[in-house]
């Protein structure tokens, strides 16, 4: 029994290390690539390795939602816009203010040191022992029950936020089209807003 426990522990450590390396490597890649298409692909790897970590933390429903919603829907939207922009989306590194860049890196390193010091201090105290959980922790049933009882208002508010986001996206898209159309033809276009993304892109500058 103890042997089986140890073997399970080693497997979890190996999976954790692999996911952590993939997480940090793809995170740096997102920031480092000059082509946003590769950055978006690196972010998909990042989200997938995060889902593995969520599974290790027994958050099964969140891991599934992460893969479906984030790596699926949100990243498809990202890739669609990057493909729509074409060559205009390229983001070469050259030409930035080197002083601002150095200050930014120093500031982020300072935040890193600060938080890691705090965590290492707490890791011997309150963070050393985790609570025991049952096997239903993080399952869709448990999350659904929480959402529809204790957190019902939060649940409804998130749906309103999504609605506002969708309406805002449509208004941004159709407003830009109307102005472009008014410049081109001297009159307002009356096509539905959902068609705005389907038009062929303007020629790349």
């Amino acid at each position: 029994m103890i042997l089986a426990d140890q073997a399970g522990n080693i497997i979890v450590w190996v999976v954790w290390l692999a996911a952590a390396v993939a997480l940090l490597g793809s995170g740096f890649a997102v920031v480092a690539f000059s082509n946003p298409f590769y950055s978006a692909l690196a972010l998909i790897v990042n989200l997938a390795s995060l889902a593995v970590l969520y599974l290790l933390l027994s958050a099964e429903f969140v891991a599934a939602a992460q893969v479906l919603v984030y790596a699926g829907a949100v990243m498809v939207m990202f890739l669609f816009v990057i493909a729509y922009l074409g060559g205009r989306a390229d983001a070469p590194w050259a030409g930035g203010k080197s002083l601002a860049r150095t200050a930014a890196i120093i500031a982020s390193a300072a935040i890193l040191v600060e938080v890691v010091v705090v965590i290492s201090k707490a890791s011997r105290g309150t963070l050393s022992t985790s609570a025991e959980i049952t096997s239903s922790f993080g399952s869709p049933t448990a999350i659904g029950q929480l959402f529809l009882s204790d957190y019902l208002i939060a649940f409804e508010v998130t749906s309103i936020i999504l609605l506002i986001g969708a309406v805002g996206g449509v208004i941004l898209g159709s407003g830009a089209r109307r102005q472009a159309g008014a410049q081109d033809e001297g009159q307002e276009t009356t096509e539905p807003a959902s068609m705005t993304l389907a038009q062929p892109p303007h020629e790349a500058a």
Partner: protein
């Protein structure tokens, strides 16, 4: 708890968050700034879920799902702005986009 303790997950999420900060501050393409923002939101999610596991309370996972919804809405509006900017043939560079009025 099998495997590493919660502190290891928190350090991981801190490093990811700092990567996102550096990306937002250093890069000038609005698309990459949005991607780095996603990194930061996901680092926050990882910390929330690690704390949920630590305290044995699933409220942290509810919080993480709410953050996912907010991130999706933010991406919709951000990408809409970028598409609108490119339609007006503006340069996609956050250093040069300093006015709200186009």
């Amino acid at each position: 708890m099998l495997g590493p303790s919660v502190a290891a997950y928190l350090v991981l999420s801190t490093v990811l968050f700092v990567t996102g900060i550096a990306g937002v501050l250093v890069r000038r393409s609005p698309l990459i700034v949005l991607l780095a923002l996603e990194l930061m939101l996901n680092a926050g999610n990882l910390a929330l879920i690690a704390f949920a596991r630590h305290s044995g309370n699933a409220a942290g996972q509810i919080f993480a799902l709410a953050v996912m919804v907010v991130a999706a809405a933010e991406v919709v509006v951000g990408l809409g702005l970028i598409v609108a900017m490119s339609r007006r043939k503006m340069e996609l560079d956050v250093d040069k986009l300093s006015q709200l009025k186009g």
